[in-house]
Amino acid sequence: MNQYLFIIRGGEDMSTKSPEEMQAHMKDWEVWMGGLAQEGKLVAGEPLHNEAKTLTERGTKVTDRPLAEGKELVGGYLLVNANSLDEAASLAGGCPGFERDCSIEVREIAKM
């Protein structure tokens, strides 16, 4: 069994949504992640704030924004168990974030 990282990017700005919409959306996440947890696939996962500081040029330059913005902005991650990159990708397919214009990049954790 390998571990895979779902890098979740983009998505609509949820801060403009009503509390009811927000709640319904988070319920979808609960259903999806609940399914992964039931199958023993879920390891961890957290959403991220948009605010960021980015360090470049050997850490000497600090910019008060994320490196990538808009559709490229990383909005969160999940760590899951799967047997192959294909299986991991199919697990990612159920993410409710797609309905909100997210993209997911699936990467295997490298054993060094």
């Binding site: 609960e30 992640m33 609940g34 879920l42 957290e46 959403p47």
Partner: protein, 429 residues
């Protein structure tokens, strides 16, 4: 000033009824091994309520406010303990509490109204695990499910706070060691497990009903908690057994008469001298309703028969018109279920009323070799009463005196002393 008193009262009432439910939900979230964590959250929520409401007044729905606050505090606790080993998140449903994606939605699921009542019942069954001693069961119920402080529990059982803390510790250790997960028992077990729960409820009730407490507030509090717990069982299809209904009936009949049992000075009033017009008719009616639903069918419990006896007393317009014949038959039924010496003793007093002192003396003489009765004050008080009827005054007085020596209850002592005084007054020393 008045307003702050209102807040205290609302909070007190709310806390008695809701704290046990909140603890039950939180224990489900944190696990029984983290009982203190659950109690701390509830305590914090209460303190927040007290502080906030003093400034802003009581909100429209104080219960919802309290629950929301407890839920938010529970979220804080989860965040704080996410990465240490205190809480076991290995269950897939609980794993969702460890991600911010799902924490709030998952937490909300735990606070669904229809589940809270089940969690509360499950906690009642866990507290009344047959492997936990009776005194530890009722101590734990009062503290954790009825929102009593350790001090209040100590006062209820006339013991020290230290003793109560020890009892609570033992129960929590039992939960921890055995990884108890509170659940409502399966259909096969429900009768026997409910029997244990009812036993504890009745012990609580009797603690309030017996006259050992001089403070009326303590008595009323205990009685209303016992009724509340039993009512919770009756509210669920799985747990409203016939025995539970019978106990509810019994407690209703007793409670209906509880005020007339003590005079305004706190002295015991004999059944024959109680003012029957003060008996609570609604409660008697409720008792009848429950007894009817409990049914006296092929299977019946002690509570069925005790309720039937209590009903005979409630139904009699005067003491003289009591149907002693029916009551004696019920006592015989009780004795056929379990040969309890106390029941046998009370039966003698029924014979005293039905057949007079001679036959009562015969009946009580048959009990004279029973060890537990020898130092039981009511045995000697009963002998005194029988002798008094036979006008054997010297013996009556000596039995009453012996009874006084054997009881701790000030009310009972006073009552017995009065019997002696009235004999001496009537017949001289």
């Amino acid at each position: 000033m008045k307003e702050s008193k209102d807040i205290d009262q609302t909070l007190n009432h709310l806390f008695r009824h809701e704290s046990g439910k909140m603890v039950s939900v939180l224990v489900k979230i944190f696990g029984t091994e983290n009982f203190e964590m659950a109690e701390d959250v509830v305590q914090d929520a209460l303190v927040s309520a007290l502080e906030t409401w003093k400034f802003r007044g009581i909100p429209d729905n104080p219960r919802a406010w309290l629950y929301r606050t407890a839920r938010n505090k529970a979220i804080d606790v989860i965040r704080k303990n996410k990465h240490n080993q205190a809480i076991d998140f290995s269950d897939p449903a609980k794993q969702l509490l460890t991600s911010e994606y799902t924490l709030t939605a998952t937490m909300n699921n735990y606070w669904e109204e229809n589940q809270i009542q089940d969690d509360f019942l499950a906690m009642m069954y866990a507290s009344c695990d047959p492997k936990i001693s009776e005194e530890n069961q009722i101590t734990f119920i009062l503290k954790s499910l009825c929102g009593f402080s350790t001090k209040e529990v100590a006062r209820s059982f006339l013991t020290s706070e230290e003793t109560i803390s020890k009892r609570l510790y033992r129960t929590k250790e039992y939960f921890r060691k055995n990884k108890i997960k509170p659940t409502i028992p399966s259909d096969e077990e429900i009768e026997s497990r409910t029997h244990t729960v009812l036993n504890s409820i009745y012990l609580l009730f009797n603690e309030g009903y017996s006259a050992t407490h001089s403070k009326e507030l303590v008595r009323e509090d205990l009685i209303s908690q016992a009724l509340h717990l039993c009512n919770s069982l009756l509210g669920n299809k799985k747990t409203n057994t016939s025995e539970a209904k019978a106990l509810m009936a019994l407690m209703c009949f007793h409670t209906a008469r509880s005020k007339s049992r003590l005079s305004s000075k706190g002295e015991l009033v004999q059944l024959s001298k109680q003012d029957r017009s003060t008996w609570n008719k609604e409660l008697i009616q409720a008792g009848r309703w429950y007894l009817h639903r409990a049914g006296l069918g092929s299977t019946y419990s002690n509570y069925h028969i005790e309720a039937a006896i209590a009903f005979q007393h409630c139904d009699a317009p005067t003491y003289e018109e009591t149907n002693w014949g029916a009551i004696l038959a019920y006592y015989d039924m009780l004795l056929s279920i379990s040969n309890d010496p106390i029941v046998a003793l009370n039966r003698c007093l029924v014979i005293l009323e039905l057949n007079g002192p001679k036959l009562a003396l015969n009946a009580i003489t048959e009990l004279e070799n029973i060890e537990v009765l020898k130092n039981y004050y009511l045995y000697h008080a009963s002998l005194g009463a029988i002798k008094e009827r036979m006008k054997e005054n010297v013996q009556a007085v000596s039995h009453y005196k012996k009874a006084i020596d054997l009881t701790q209850s000030v009310q009972e002592q006073k009552f017995l002393q009065e019997r002696i005084t009235s004999i001496l007054f009537k017949y001289g020393p």
